[in-house]
């Protein structure tokens, strides 16, 4: 039930916004976040609960790769 799904904000009208869940457009409440058209938000039970940080999202995998390449597990 805590499932939350990413969607792209299409247009904003007060506390509501039209968001695109990969093809399906729905109205959700955005009063809990600062969201603008073009932002990715994560939606749970009809409310956007956070704006996705695109930079962090794109960097994560590279960081992991680096971590795994360079780290030797020598702690015993």
């Amino acid at each position: 039930m805590c499932l939350a799904i990413p969607a792209r904000v299409e247009s904003v009208n007060g506390s509501m916004a039209k968001v695109d869940f990969g093809g399906t457009v729905q109205e959700v409440n955005i009063s809990l976040v600062d969201a603008e058209p073009g932002d990715y938000v994560v939606v749970h039970a009809g409310f956007a609960i956070q704006v996705m940080d695109e930079k962090d999202a794109l960097e994560t995998l590279d960081l992991w790769r680096e971590l795994l390449e360079h780290e030797s597990v020598s702690i015993t």
Binding site: M1, C2, Y40, H44, I49, M52, L61, W64, V73
Partner: protein, 376 residues
């Protein structure tokens, strides 16, 4: 975690980004193997459990010395039989009952809200509190929203009461609960050794990282907040293992793309304005101090328990037993796996659920049954 890791649906990762990359997954598993581990980790989220079982990660991790247990991370499952009986009692009195889908089929002492619907009582499923308010606007009847869910869901209830101007006939039956308090109590019970916690990503989106810190200090246990893709979980396990091996115990954040250290301040503020903490019982647990939320004074007109106090008193006075033979309590505390319940896949199936863990899509029994593993 075979084909689905690499192709098709797998490429849908957020922002077209792959969080199911097989090569990275293999590397993490290799690292874990080199660590020569024998640890047990608990997560408290049905969506984490779904990812773990769906991709067969529980087995892969067991092979490298990591056992994963699901704790009390299913909001439907931890809702008590008393709360279900409260909702059914109000339905019988003629109120319109609205709640999230899975709640309907959880048996109370006998029947469920879904059974009552079949009998003609006004019981409806909603996807969000917005829908419940809309229903209330179009009727004179009292509309009760059974507000279940953790910190992920609670802000939508608070924001609706504070800013949504619901009509006077809209009432809330507060059943929201907060996760860190339950983690603390669970460790305090000391029923099973745990070497780490995978903290729930979407709850943490709201509360941030700080509410978990006292738990790591008190019990010297590593925690990592994790997202919901297979790689998120593998990385979380790896990060916990690193802490474990170096004797550390702190809260790390794997899900930085969504979880900010201070959480969602706007959501926390509106929750704090509308709710105050209260002690509440969880299914399978004793009363957990400050793990519930009740409406503050000023919001009484929306409080179903206050408005229907006279009617609900009989429910509050009732002794209610858990269904006979059901081990949901043990499953929710992580001390038993679903297959250890004698009713699992026999008397209890998703079509004939005995306990909530078989009803809810986030329940441990339902998830194991659904993915066809260990079916008797």
């Amino acid at each position: 975690m075979d084909d689905e890791m690499d192709g098709g649906k797998a490429d849908e990762g957020v922002l077209g980004f792959k969080y199911r990359n097989r090569e990275v997954a293999d590397k993490v598993l290799q690292r874990l193997r080199e660590m020569d581990l024998n640890i047990r980790i608990m997560h408290v989220c049905g969506t984490h459990q779904d990812t773990l079982i769906r991709f067969g990660m529980d087995e892969l991790l067991r092979e490298v010395g990591v056992e994963i247990r699901q704790g009390p991370g299913c909001p439907v499952c931890v809702t008590t039989p008393h709360e279900i009986e409260e909702a059914m009692c109000l339905a019988r009195k003629g109120c319109t009952i609205t709640t999230f889908g899975d709640m309907l089929r959880v048996p109370g002492t006998g029947e469920s809200l879904a059974d009552m619907h079949t009998q003609g009582y006004d019981v409806r499923t909603v996807y969000s509190i917005n829908e419940a308010v809309k229903i209330a606007r179009n009727t004179d009847n009292d509309v009760i929203f059974v507000a279940i869910g953790f910190e992920t869901t609670a802000p939508s209830t608070a924001a609706t009461l504070e800013h949504g101007s619901p009509p006077d006939n809209f009432k809330v039956l507060m059943c929201h609960r907060t996760i860190p308090q339950a983690m603390d109590v669970l460790l305090g019970l000391g029923e099973l050794r745990l070497d780490g916690f995978i903290d729930p990503g979407h709850v943490s989106t709201i509360i941030g990282i700080h509410p978990y810190e006292s738990i790591s200090e008190k019990y010297h246990i590593p925690q990592v907040i994790a997202g919901f893709e297979p790689l998120d979980l593998l990385m979380a396990v790896y990060m916990i293992a690193r802490q474990y091996r170096s004797g550390e115990a702190r809260v790390e954040n794997e899900y930085k793309r969504l979880v900010k250290p201070d959480g969602n301040q706007r959501a926390l503020q509106v929750m704090n304005k509308v709710f105050e903490a209260c002690d509440v019982k969880w299914r399978g647990f004793p009363v957990i101090p400050d793990s519930g939320m009740k409406l503050r004074s000023g919001y009484e007109q929306y409080d179903a328990r206050r408005q229907y106090e006279d009617i609900l008193q009989e429910i509050w006075d009732m002794e209610i037993q858990e269904p006979k033979g059901c081990m949901c309590g043990e499953v929710l505390r992580g001390v038993a796996n679903p297959e250890e319940c004698g009713l699992f896949a026999r008397a209890c199936t998703p079509r004939t659920p005995v306990g909530p863990c078989m009803v809810s899509g986030e329940g441990g029994c339902n998830i194991v049954y659904k993915y066809g593993k260990n079916r008797i």
